[in-house]
Symmetry: C2
Subunit: 326 residues, 2 copies
Amino acid sequence: MTAPSGPPPDFPNAPPSPDVDDLVGRLLAGDRRALSRAITHVENGRPEGRLALAQLYARTGRAHVTGITGGSGAGKSTLTYRLALEQRRRGRSVGIVAVDPSSPFSHGAILGDRIRMQELTSDRDIFVRSMATRGELGGLAPMTDDVVAVLDAFGKDVVLVETVGAGQDEVEVASMADTTAVVVTPGGGDGVQAMKAGILEVADVLVINKADLPGADALAQQLQAVTPRDTHVPIVRTVATKGEGIGELADAIDAHREQLETSGDRERVALERARRRVLARARQRLLERLIGGPDGALRLDRLAASVAARELDPYTAAQRLVDGGS
Amino acid sequence: MTAPSGPPPDFPNAPPSPDVDDLVGRLLAGDRRALSRAITHVENGRPEGRLALAQLYARTGRAHVTGITGGSGAGKSTLTYRLALEQRRRGRSVGIVAVDPSSPFSHGAILGDRIRMQELTSDRDIFVRSMATRGELGGLAPMTDDVVAVLDAFGKDVVLVETVGAGQDEVEVASMADTTAVVVTPGGGDGVQAMKAGILEVADVLVINKADLPGADALAQQLQAVTPRDTHVPIVRTVATKGEGIGELADAIDAHREQLETSGDRERVALERARRRVLARARQRLLERLIGGPDGALRLDRLAASVAARELDPYTAAQRLVDGGS
């Protein structure tokens, strides 16, 4: 094999690389079907996906990645859709990754309105992808991050990542974005209580969606009270269903991006994000080694039986698994 | 060291074990302060915690562990409190572990009502512990599981684990319980949409709390529609603030427990749970090895810098980290 981009030796079971080379070549030439296929490889955890990523990674870092996160029912999908249109209006190509499996993006319609969805998908500069799977071994965050990287390398100016922001995984996804917008709504107790659960710290922009509902002012006051003063996290009010406040949201995202550039924070943030990226994939790799093969799986089953029978405690069992015993 | 329960050789930095032996002895004698201290050790990831667990693990498996999970604002804390009182009424000792850092348990009051909290804490057969930390390396699930194991070994008949049920981590916590009650409320879009996001599959009992609000019937119908018919997941209606439906909830939990015993499912479930336990701790152990020491941390920093500079892709960097290179 003489291809300069052949599979690195540390990918066992790597397929012949010409296929991947071809896929990457077509993707970089702007082929949307190649883009779609590369993303599928990544999502399915296939070696082709990793090989493609290894080639594409040097071309990443141009897209501005915006996380849009918040509780279910906060209107994130509609907001994401409106923001995508606004970014197009500003002359930017857009990728959308919807991580929430309950997102309307996953069902081919936004709030049941298929016409809107067609509006997005008929625009060749908007690419929408919803991720249904969660990743057995590796978790949600690295997989989403990989899909974003592929869109970035493809040349998208903006990538919008929609996630349900409540669990640790979702916070991790959000924290891999350049700018994270956290969406809350008046009433329902969804707002401040959810924010306390770990999502507030990752917010670069706070969005009060459904701001025409009663309680929006009170929510804004609450948010201001719990937001550290020195961070100056802007609070933007939107009514996504009517397209209100979307320009202001795009402005706030642009301002955060600008601030990242000028403050020198970008480098620090990028380093921290790279650290998380490496760590997440190392964890994945170690687990694959540990139980990816039939031997490992069998060993785990045996140890689990001893733990279930209370003959071993879980730590001793884990230690034996790691050490290769059974 | 001649103590039969000395530290196994695979715990480096293990402290002298007499302290742990003493702690375990006092805990098993019913000393609540020893219980509290052992839990603190576990929560802080200290070697003492693991050593104590290794000794205590053989004594676990008696408690019935009930997970209470659902969105923020669903009234889980009040429900947990009421269920604890009901279990006491049935003559069972109770441990409560509140994982949600925004839980009122964390603030020493339930819904601002300190008198109720005192009612719980003045009952020596109810032990309440809220977990504020989330665990840097290992994640939430194993840590919670360890705390539950300590309460189990202590002799609690019932352990109630309250978590915000939305992320993958929270689902993992819930799935370590014997019986998982998923709490939803009418209105707010919180219900069915949240359930689709992965929590429905782990529900053994569905609770419609705030069942006196409009929309409870519609929600019950929706839940019935999305619940697989052959699983017979019961739907219980409660108004936790008024104590309504709590007896029915306790009955449903008892019935599920009974069903686990008689169907032979208990063994299968226990095996699957043991598998997850071992795996979670193996993951933890591997990560500690990888970046626990100063060398590993430094290597990770260097690799992260290369990834941030796009000189390396995250997978190649992860591979080098795992292989011990830099």
